[in-house]
Amino acid sequence: MSLDIPNWSATELDLMRIGLGLTTVWAFMTAAALRPDSGQLAPVGIARFVNIGWMGSRQIFRFVQFVACAAALFFAADMATPYAVSVMAVAMLINVTFVSSQGSVNHGSHLLLIVLLAEASGYGAHALFAESDKAEETLFASTSAATASWWAIQAIAAAYFASGLTKLVNSRGRWVQNSPGLLMDALSRQETWALLGSQPPKVLERAANVTDFLLRHIRIAQMLFAAGLLIELSAPLGLCGVGILALVGIGLIALHMANGLLLGLSFPLYQLLVLTFYVNPAQLWS
């Protein structure tokens, strides 16, 4: 186990780049085109300083969507890569900020945004500082693509670790003990699914069965939730080598799938990013 930047092959880096590009395209294509016209009800992030209420316009959103998708395809094709990822990051920042400034924050694209910002910063910093005498060797890999990927991996680790820490801090260390309370949320969410008709009856039935089983076996529920917390907190261990990175990645994807089953929150973008940067099928096959 060592804290060295992994020596990725060109194929592995290609896969990470293509994966990020296509994930971004998917994120923009599935983003809601129907925009709230109420401006910024509760500004967060840059919206506190800059009015981005114009993102409520459907035409402007369509334009941003087109530009971001074009940039993502350029990025995936390794054309004008640093510029393309910067455009993707700015477009995603504006969209996520606008959506989250409507009174309730939507975390669905947060990880993608932070990864895009880390990648853009990685490319930029590598171009500016990697060759200078003062460059801190450990910050930069041999190529800009490797630096950007390394920074993206650190960004993902920071997000999951922050999530795990928050659970410990907000519950004053009693999160695992209190975790069966999440089953109460599962019950109210399942009621909401039924009202919306948003899930097939089989999915609803399976979720209800799992919740029911866990309610009858509180200790098992606590163990499962504890395992989930442990997986989140172990995200930084992935920085110690590609093998551990893949293991942590598989654990994180399993965590999201379990959340999807129980709470209907599978966060597909998060899963795709973890699959791309942590599991990276190319590094598993090499």
Binding site: A118, A158, V169, Q177, L195
Partner: protein, 193 residues
């Protein structure tokens, strides 16, 4: 806030045992927790910065972690503490809608999302003063008036739902001594005026 544990995401202020005498068995956080969280998160962010100084290799990790724990407390995009489900409560609730046959009524067909009606009801309930209606049931019945109005405003003037009475039900879930206790409280039956 009184009488409701919320849905587990109490990071920005939720259920407090100090204001609800029925909450003896609730897993709770106290009212000073926001300050507590701020202090702990600042300390953790400082640790992250120290980590970056001693090991520059993980600078990006440390900087983003520190930003998440500080700027993320106000959900300043792209930073977040990801506080969802960080304070599990042993109570939760949902609103349900039924037609005259007792079948689930698809409220979304009126253009009303469950999240919208939940927020509206929750806000109306929170808006009631502490001095009125000592029982939770009575408080809920008072708070549902706004929701009834909302449903009737959205009711189509023709079609199968034009004259169908809609029953609004509060479903409470509580984990008490390791057992699930449910509370089904019929709040109102709304009919076209």
């Amino acid at each position: 806030m009184r009488g409701l544990c919320g849905n587990g995401n109490t990071a920005t202020g939720g259920y407090s045992a100090l204001t609800d005498p029925t909450a003896a068995s609730c897993y709770t956080i106290d009212v000073t927790s926001r300050q507590y969280r701020l202090k702990v998160n600042l300390a953790l962010a400082a640790c992250a910065v120290v980590l970056a100084i001693f090991n520059p290799m993980v600078t990006v990790f440390a900087v983003i972690l520190a930003a998440n724990l500080t700027l993320g407390q106000r959900e300043d995009v792209p930073f977040s503490t990801y506080g969802m489900f960080s304070s599990p409560s042993n109570r939760s609730w949902a609103l349900s809608f039924e037609d005259s046959k007792g079948e689930l009524f698809p409220i979304a067909t009126f253009g009303l999302l469950p999240s919208t009606v939940r927020k509206s009801f929750s806000a109306d309930l929170g808006g009631l003063g502490d001095e009125v209606d000592p029982t939770e049931h009575a408080r809920r019945r008072r708070a549902v008036a706004g929701l009834v109005e909302m449903v009737e405003k959205k009711r189509p003037s023709f079609g199968e739902w034009a004259s169908e009475p809609i029953t609004i039900i509060y479903l409470g879930y509580q984990l008490k001594g390791g057992k699930l206790v449910t509370d089904r409280d019929v709040l109102a039956v709304t009919e076209p005026q």
